[in-house]
Amino acid sequence: MANLEKYSYDVVIVGAGGAGLRAAVEARDAGLSVAIVCKSLFGKAHTVMAEGGAAASMGNVNDNDNWMVHFRDTMRGGKFLNHFRMAELHAKEAPDRIWELEMWGALFDRTSEGKISQRNFGGHEYPRLAHVGDRTGLELIRTMQQRIVALQQKDKRETGDAEKNLKVFAEVTITDILKENGKIAGAYGYRRETGEEILFEAPAVVIATGGVGKTFKITSNSWEGTGDGHALALKAGANLVDMEFLQFHPTGMVWPLSVKGILVTESVRGEGGILTNSLGERFMFKYIPDVFKDKYADNEAEADRWYIDQDNNRRPPELLPRDEVARAINTEVKAGRGTEHGGVFLDVSKRLSAEVIKKRLPSMWHQFYELAGVDITKEAMEVGPTCHYVMGGVEVEPDTAAAVGVDGLFAAGEVAGGMHGSNRLGGNSLTDLLVFGRRAGMGAVEYVKSHGKNPVSAATLEKAATRIAAPFTRTGGENAYSLHQELQEVTHNLVGIIRTGAELTQAIEKIADIRKRSANISVTGDRKFNPGFHLAFDLDNMLLVAESTAKSALLREESRGGHTRDDFPGMNSTWRQVNHISSFDRDKVIVKAQPLPVLPKELFDLFDVHELEKYMTPEEISKGGSN
């Protein structure tokens, strides 16, 4: 502690993905000093993995599109469990966020008029996704990264020091959000390279840490997706909302091993890829839910025609929202019609020529050819559900992204909850990052302006430091790697894509047991870039997330979006009125039901009442929204 690195900033941003960087830009533009802290190198965030595009109703390809249509699609996709205000802000502001990226150097694919091109995607009524081939996430992260550099260059011109007011702390893990007098005071962590501890004093902290996929065995997430922000927020006294909702991407690779879990982007289906089972049946026609009957084709002929004439035909059922596709694949596999590795076939080689596939899906082709020797222009892929995205997250005020219950704490991006309801539409996450990243930045600016500094006390510091040192003081304790594997088995088998009450109860017990044992983890080697040591802290976060998910899932006795209960297969309108709020009492996660905010009349009226009848109770319909 003698040589503790100390810094003081106005805002500390935990996470350097799209949301964190967008928040940083906003706060720095407003004149604040900003630290960006990330676990990896700068520019490696999981945002790079997003392939399909960023949804924004710019109407460049179809001018019928506008924010109201986008809002409706988002609510429908989330099965009306979304926080209406977040969905509204997102739909309204997404186009501006895309256009500003272009001013910062992003080069999206173009329409023939020279505007930003937009493509079709599951759940979106019109072509809406701004994209760059299939590497849109990379374009977004690089543009934001370069925007940060541009701001630093500006600071350098003006003050002579590029990093004085905006600095990236790469390869630093935050282990504690610090509070003093009930308000945020800073963040504490360690440098991954050296293991040395580091303190940030700041009155505002923005959490933008992304997802929780590493809690599960098969996931598209990288090692970073360990739910750090979720756990940090819980421990700081914030709430998590609706943690039972996890998106299993319907099409992850199940074979070969080296690419297991890796996503096959929805664009493959958007460009004409079809799903078949081991009998060769195009099975998706059997799984069109009633609410979608009028939008999706029920026969192959019409589905095929849609690719040529979209105005007069219904869409192919392969483009149904993700949860429907995931559930359909799961059902096929469980019924014994899956491939030998437990997936189904996704084939794009029959409809498109090899050249067109390479042009439209370049990194898909490249990836599977190089990683696994699979040539998608010639053969079908073997795909199945993989844990991809968590809809649940920190409960926030929509307009400011302020975490409910903790002054000075903000959350944006995947780590925040509410925006996507029970299921996220593809393409909405990239614009979610930008819209709410900016709003979190604005929220932090307002907060810092009205609240002064909040110094960290010696006692608080001591507590945070002790926690980091702890694993080294034990010998012969538990191995973090094996506990992590145990946890992944539990979540995969008992809290996975299809759940039952009995299994969830069992899971809660097992997670509690692993958590108890994890208090006794010991680490070999020293502090210097020691992955075993790093995992000890990540595991602690994942355990809290898993507990919150399992407990929320046990309470919700219905199936909706990213939560499927075998013992309660239907969607239930009474359950739609309820959010599940997780909090932490220093010992365990407590989950309570909380009424969902009521849709205001002007938003209620955007929908056909008959559509709402599928989701809402007669009483809600008769009220017609709040006034």
């Binding site: 990896s40 190198l41 520019g43 490696k44 790079v48 993995m49 186009p95 501006d96 256009w99 500003e100 272009e102 001013m103 910062w104 150097g105 080069l107 694919d109 173009r110 008029e113 505007k115 091109s117 760059v132 081939g133 590497r135 990379l138 374009e139 690089r142 370069q146 550099v149 541009a150 630093q152 260059q153 350098k156 590029a162 390279e193 990288s222 090692w223 970073e224 074979w255 070969p256 091993l257 080296s258 690419v259 890796i262 490249h366 990836q367 190089e370 990683l371 696994a372 020797g373 191995n479 790697y481 680490v523 070999t524 080697g525 210097k528 870039f529 020691n530 992955p531 075993g532 040591f533």
Partner: protein, 253 residues
Amino acid sequence: MARTLKLRIWRGDDKTGGLQDVTVEANHGEVVLDIIHRVQATQMGDLAVRWNCKAGKCGSCSMEINGKPRLACMTQVASYPEDETITITPLRAFPVIKDLVTDVSFNYKKAMEIPSVEMPPGMKPGEPRMQQIDVERSQEFRKCIECFLCQDTCHVIRDHEENKKSFAGPRFFIRIAELDMHPLDILRNRKKSAQEEHGLGMCNITKCCTEVCPEHIRITDNAIIPMKERVVDEKYDPLRWLGSKIRKREGML
């Protein structure tokens, strides 16, 4: 299916270190990063390695495998003969931190030295109009995942530490080319500064950067050589120079 694999992994830090022999199981279809993870989980809990996506998209797991700069997640174990010992070392152009992790901050410093995109004054968000054929060249360079393998293999800095001051490296030559070919960027001194400040002239186009690029960006042919030619236009071609003076005088530019 499974095979026993012999590895030599470099372990150490900036002061000492050496290759250590390891024997480990490998399954069908696995890549070198899978193997390193298995070593980590079973034999060397504190083996340091950088990685993120394990899908060839983030550019974190750069290292040298049998002496070649590569992404560990994109290197199939099956591409090596059964009896071959695979040697894994950190990148050799950068200072080592621990084991397979190197200090790549050089690259972030260089990124800071290249002026950002500058859009025409008065242009508002939503207004830019660009044709696909005009953005395609720059789009190729924006595929870069910043794995820094090109920087690692480039002999200008790999073999000459002292050149690091004056040489930006292939990754940043494609960045300069990207901006110089951007249809709307208004900065006009990128060619000159490429030559005078970023060391474009140091490159002797021996193409190793192109050979190691996991994104198959044609760094030399599409970025460095076109930039060298653009520099010639401005600095070394008396006819072009004369022509541009005349056109300027006649208001043709």
